[in-house]
Amino acid sequence: MGHHEAPEEPNLVPLLDLVLQMVMFFMAVTNFAMENVNESVKLPLAQSAKPVDNVGTDILYVNVDQQGNLLVPSDKNFPDGKIDGMVGKVVDEATKRVVQPGTLNRNKRNDAIRAYLVNAYKNNEIAAKARKEDPGAVRTMVILRAHADADFRDVYEVLKQCRSAGFKKMQLRATVEQK
């Protein structure tokens, strides 16, 4: 009687190792918490832009779209996620879609942007007062992400409002252009 041979089975352990390593890699590079970095903002190119440092937690992202609107996706006061100064705009609360676009009023938009930034500064001030080390000083850095095709006047207006709200530290974001 011939000896019984065990059925041949492929060794899947190295394959599993490799796959898990790849899963780990993709999990590490995928950032789910990117709600402040708006993908609809196409940044301008700049060769001298430096790699992004770790700016800590005291940051305020300010996204400005092509039309000069301030994008505020998590603010409940603006159901469609932007401060656009449209008079007579109607937004469907359920779907968050604009039913009626309205007409642009720049002054109204500037006032709304000012109110938003002043409110953001006040919130940062409260947080700064509650901080254990160096309480009272607002160290928040404003990170401006403006669309490449936005008009200068709209970007300038946002910068000016940041300053008048009280923010002192500022940084621009651009797409790093290869030399």
């Binding site: 001298s48 300038y156 500022m170 974001r173």
Partner: protein, 191 residues
């Protein structure tokens, strides 16, 4: 002879279900590959905020008469890079307290394709970098020993100028060696 009381455990084969685990891992891998979006590399640029007036003093005794008044809103700078857009033409110039230096002009900007615009803009920005470098070198030579080199520059542009052009100019200023770059209010915007 007494029998050994040691009871040996039955020979149990532990079976590790690798195949379902591998299935799940592949599912996860597929999900991450599909959602993976490296995008373009984002970089940072430091800048000066546009100035506002000094904060108002709380008491009359606190008023510092040496400080500039609220009407002087602009940060002083040695050079102004002026970028103008009118009738589809873009002009770039540098001015200091004495002179205006023309850097270049792009005519019929709107008729050019995006690639052509980019080429023309790059040419002008290269010239601007050279000019600003030259001016900075002059300042370094003129500087007396012990004096701090003020390397600030201000960018002045029309209100309708595209932000990408402004960042391009800012890029040229930084490449030329200026560390303090700020924006002046658009002259056609009014107060």
């Amino acid at each position: 002879m007494s029998k050994s009381s040691k009871i040996t455990a039955p020979d149990i084969k532990v079976y590790l279900p690798i195949v379902p685990m591998l299935d799940m891992s592949f599912q996860l891998l597929f999900f991450f590959i599909i959602t993976f979006n490296p995008g373009q590399r984002e970089g940072q640029m430091a800048m000066n905020l546009p100035a506002t007036g000094e904060a108002k003093a709380k008491k009359q005794e606190d008023v510092n008469l040496d400080k500039p008044s609220d009407t002087e809103l602009e940060v002083p700078s040695d050079f102004v890079v002026s970028v103008k857009y009118y009738e589809q033409n873009v002009t770039v110039a540098v001015r200091d307290s004495e002179k205006v230096y023309d850097i270049g002009k792009i005519t019929d900007m709107d008729k050019l394709t995006r690639d052509e615009q980019r080429k023309e803009v790059d040419k002008i920005l290269a010239k601007l970098t050279d000019k600003l470098k030259e001016k900075l070198e002059e300042k370094k030579k003129e500087r007396k020993e012990g004096d701090k080199l003020s390397d600030n520059v201000k960018i002045e542009a029309n209100s309708k100028m595209k932000y990408s052009m402004l960042v391009g100019v800012m890029d040229a200023c930084i490449k030329a060696g200026y560390s303090q770059v700020g924006f002046a209010p658009p002259p056609d915007l009014g107060s």
